[in-house]
């Protein structure tokens, strides 16, 4: 079940995705978080953010829309209050998701979090669709993305994962640009921009009008993007998008993911991650593989020739 990722060994490849797991504390009352491979925090910004007005959530067939807007207490509160609490319930390295309106905000958060020993890697969020400034603006422009990653890399004393947006014409271009700029790994995908309409009231359901689509509805898109990017980059990928079951997780690994993010499934079922982790060994065996490592990218033709 172990996989090597960014120089550390994950007990298993399952990692809750940013924004669906808070800072882990709510889930600690449901299960022992140390069962997880790692966990990704909610996006951290330099100053506290309230986020968008409500409604922020809408259910759609096969998933949901969210427009939270990066609500978080700010990096200082995260360091002083949240990380010490998390250390009591989770003893493995975590991935800190970082967001900002401007490049300097990302760098400020990185500088402050650099000395936190719990943090094993940073995940640079260049793909949040729910804020006016920053977020997806960086992730949909290869030049801006690579500039942000290059400067973040100069500041960071930890490995840098870059979380990509699917709301682009060609995700491979962005992936290559951030790899060239020094990214150590990629997370894909963030949510797809969508909307829902309340036809009784004749207006958008979300107060923000648009939100990010997640859930099983986006899994085929996410798989395709992981598959494409895997063939064109040499850094490891955390694959995510609509993972509900161990079967979904295996699909992402076969497409080329080294680790698998579980997102909105956590909201529906707080036990989603431990259930997937429990089911993985039996599924791997059933499919006739000896371990997870050997399955990474297994769905690619080149791999088939190699085998």
């Amino acid at each position: 079940m172990t996989v090597s990722f960014l120089g550390w060994t994950l007990d298993n490849p399952i990692i809750p995705a940013s924004g669906t797991f808070g800072f882990g504390l709510e889930y600690a009352s449901f299960f022992d978080l140390n069962q997880l491979g790692s966990l990704t925090t909610k996006a951290i910004t330099a100053r506290p953010r309230f986020g968008n007005p409500t409604p922020r959530i809408a259910e759609v067939p096969g998933g949901m829309l969210n427009a939270i807007g990066l609500q978080n207490p700010g990096v200082d509160d995260v360091i002083e209050v949240i990380l010490p609490k998390l250390a009591q319930v989770f003893q493995k390295p975590i991935i800190a998701n970082i967001a900002g309106s401007v490049v300097e905000e990302y760098l400020e958060v990185i500088d402050k979090l650099n000395s936190e020993p719990q943090i094993g890697a940073f995940e640079i969020n260049i793909s949040c669709p729910n804020v006016q400034e920053g977020g997806m603006v960086f992730g949909t422009n290869a030049t801006l993305a690579s500039d942000l990653v290059r400067r973040s890399k100069q500041h960071s004393r930890k490995p840098l994962i870059v979380k990509l947006s699917p709301n682009v014409t060609n995700i491979v271009d962005i992936a290559r640009a951030v790899e060239d700029a020094g990214a150590d790994a990629l997370s894909l995908i963030n949510t797809l921009v969508g909307m829902a309409i309340d036809r009784e009231k004749a207006r958008p359901v979300l107060a923000n009008k648009f939100g990010g689509l997640s859930g099983p509805a986006i899994k085929p898109v996410a798989l395709r993007m992981v598959f494409q990017v895997f063939e064109q980059v040499s850094i490891p990928i955390i694959g995510m998008g609509g993972v509900m079951t161990a079967e979904d997780a295996i699909d992402f690994i076969l497409a080329g993911a080294t680790a698998v993010g579980v997102g909105s499934a956590n909201l529906r079922d707080p036990f989603a991650c431990p259930k997937i982790i429990e089911a993985l060994p039996g599924l791997i065996q059933h499919l006739g593989w000896s371990n997870i490592k050997s399955m990474i990218g297994g769905a690619h033709e080149k791999r088939h020739h190699r085998l």
């Binding site: 808070g22 986020g51 409604p55 922020r56 079922d269």
Partner: protein
């Protein structure tokens, strides 16, 4: 998380169904549950429901049939099981020394007042309940509440009780404390008269346990999650635009 068994699920009033579940944990008045209404991904998120009453291992939910999800719920039959996240939210705070209280409910906001009224009754408090409905056909819980409180009713069309909106009932402002549940417009109108009470809020929720930040409001004490820090708030802590 528990698997609860549907004991009954039947029409209760216009567009309102009553579902009784067994195998439940005890709940405080004002707490809520998140119900997974089917196993597939057709209904991706759980639905939050207030609790009309909790006794032994029985949970009584009243739910308004509004959309696809609640329409589907009406098809469940005794013996069906539901995956439910229980004991969510804070519930109403009861001060046994506070005798002169009233309950204010608008529409489906009346539902959680039953459990609260019964709990108050057990503590020797007999409140007055001011209930507002759209029309006579949607009025419910009147006989149940009448056993434990004084009941005053308004309907928007005047088919039952006084005609008009429940928050125009001047008598309720003569009580020294209130528990109010209902639409935001109703709560706002009450809060503008007096903030001496508690209010239970509703919002679309993603998770129900404080992780997704889908139901955040700004209060005088800072950002709060309705699901985890509420759903019951001191009226004086709320901010009205």
């Amino acid at each position: 998380m528990s698997r609860l068994v549907v004991q009954s699920n039947q029409w209760f009033a216009d567009k309102v169904y009553q579902m009784v579940l067994s195998g439940a944990k005890p709940h405080e008045p004002g707490q809520f549950v998140m119900v997974e209404i089917s196993k597939g991904i057709d209904f991706f998120l759980r639905r939050p429901f207030s609790i009309a009453d909790s006794k032994n291992d029985r949970l009584t939910l009243l739910y308004k049939v509004i959309g696809r999800g609640t329409s589907y719920m009406t098809t469940l039959i005794p013996g069906d099981t539901l995956d439910v996240l229980e004991q969510l939210g804070n519930g109403f705070r009861i001060d046994p020394n506070r005798q002169d209280v009233c309950l204010i409910g608008g529409g489906s906001g009346v539902f959680p007042l039953l459990g609260l009224a019964r709990r108050l009754h057990e503590r020797g408090i007999r409140p007055t309940a001011f209930l507002g409905f759209d029309t006579k056909q949607s009025a419910c819980l009147i006989s149940e509440l009448s056993r434990v409180c004084q009941v005053a009713i308004t309907t928007m069309d005047g088919t039952l009780g006084e005609m008009g909106n429940v928050c125009l009932y001047q008598a309720m402002y003569q009580h020294s404390y209130y528990y109010a549940v209902g639409p935001m417009a109703m709560l706002k109108a009450i809060a503008q008269k007096t903030t001496n009470g508690q209010m239970s809020l509703e919002e679309r929720m993603g998770c129900g346990f404080g992780a997704c930040m889908g139901c955040t409001i700004m209060t005088k004490k800072g950002p709060a999650q309705i699901c985890k820090d509420g759903p019951v708030f001191s009226a004086g802590d709320l901010i009205w635009e």
